[in-house]
Symmetry: C2
Subunit: 222 residues, 2 copies
């Protein structure tokens, strides 16, 4: 019912930003429904009514968080691939592309603070959507897929559109699984097995995927 009090509020001491940060952390950790407005406000050192005053409700706060983060993450993932494509000199190899995407995908996870939170948020949202159903596909999944798919086709001539799309599927599937597993395993208190370490797995996914793509391309040619 009220207008946005301050649209930008750069300084980190605004209550509005403290609420956003606290909510982001809690939503990622416990999920939307499981996080109460009281938790958020006390965590941010604010009053219970602060969420409704600044955002007009719990749902809007949630939406605001995604709006703030999605664009940045998408750009981060596609930019490396695009950069490779338009780079001067020789055309990037298949391994170049897969490697660039893999590190771009996994990089936000290496720092344990911010990246993990975002991934967790996204995973939760995909399983229990509280956002408009199409928003995720249009703003995140489709652009990233498109970008990687085109890059693969430029490096592997003869790869059809459908084949490229499925290979993208395979790569992303592996990467998402790596993320989920690392989260689950550490949470379950199991000491991480060295053969499934994040960096080791990144190398593996690259080699595995390059082999897989070549197999797909090769068998279709015959």
């Amino acid at each position: 019912m009220t207008f946005d009090p301050q649209e930008r509020a750069e300084p980190g001491d605004g209550t509005r930003n403290k609420l956003l940060d606290a909510a982001e952390r809690l939503f990622a950790e416990k999920g939307f429904e499981q996080t109460s407005v009281r938790e958020i406000t006390t965590e941010a050192g604010a009053n219970i009514a602060a969420v409704n005053y600044h955002f007009g409700g719990k749902d809007n706060l949630y939406r605001e968080i995604f709006h703030r983060r999605l664009a940045h993450l998408r750009e981060q993932r596609t930019s490396k691939i695009e950069a490779l494509q338009h780079e001067g000199g020789s055309r990037p190899t298949l391994e170049d592309i897969v490697s660039a995407f893999t590190s771009a995908f996994l990089e936000p996870l290496m720092d344990h603070s911010e990246g993990r939170i975002l991934i967790e948020l996204i995973a939760r949202e995909m399983l229990s959507p509280h956002l408009p159903r199409t928003m995720f596909f249009e703003e995140m999944i489709d652009p990233v897929r498109e970008s990687l798919s085109r890059a693969l086709q430029s490096a592997v001539p003869g790869l059809t559109d459908a084949e490229a799309a499925r290979c993208v599927h395979s790569i992303i599937g592996q990467l998402v699984h790596v993320i989920h597993h690392s989260r689950l395993a550490t949470e379950a208190g199991r000491q991480p097995r060295e053969e499934l370490d994040l960096h080791v797995m990144a190398d593996h996914v690259i080699r595995f995927s390059v082999g897989g793509i070549q197999a797909i391309a090769g068998s279709s040619k015959v």
Copy 2:
């Protein structure tokens, strides 16, 4: 508005079983926290107190559901691989193994009723655990992984334990992603793209993974 004698269908259809069925469906659809005991009981045509009487609480009902299903699913996934291994005649090829596991993994999803519910339940539990943290690893993930890992090594001599474990990771990651995506896409109302159809994707995953595994095994030999 309660006891309807024509509601019964099965011999073992005491309210206890009706509660289990209703809860399983609702937990899968909306998640544990988001499903209320009142919903479960009214869906099962029972009194609100029935859950606490028969199971001693909402949590125990949830645990009971998994206890009932997990063993069966695990057996279903490992048995096909084991059968291949101990089959008379020539040793199964790499493609045989990956193919058998893929279809065993995806099969419960082809029938749209029961299998989907179970997958949904598991996906939710992995993201927001309400069960003892280790139960899932010990009763489901580890045995399946072990079984597939050994099978791969028997078909691809020279594949180390660590490499096999990572390849299993890659395969399962792809399959889980196929499942999630199919769920998300149909839920979002998008008409399924034919190149990402379940059967087509199954074939793709097999070829992609065989190529990937061979690449891993080949590069390690050099």
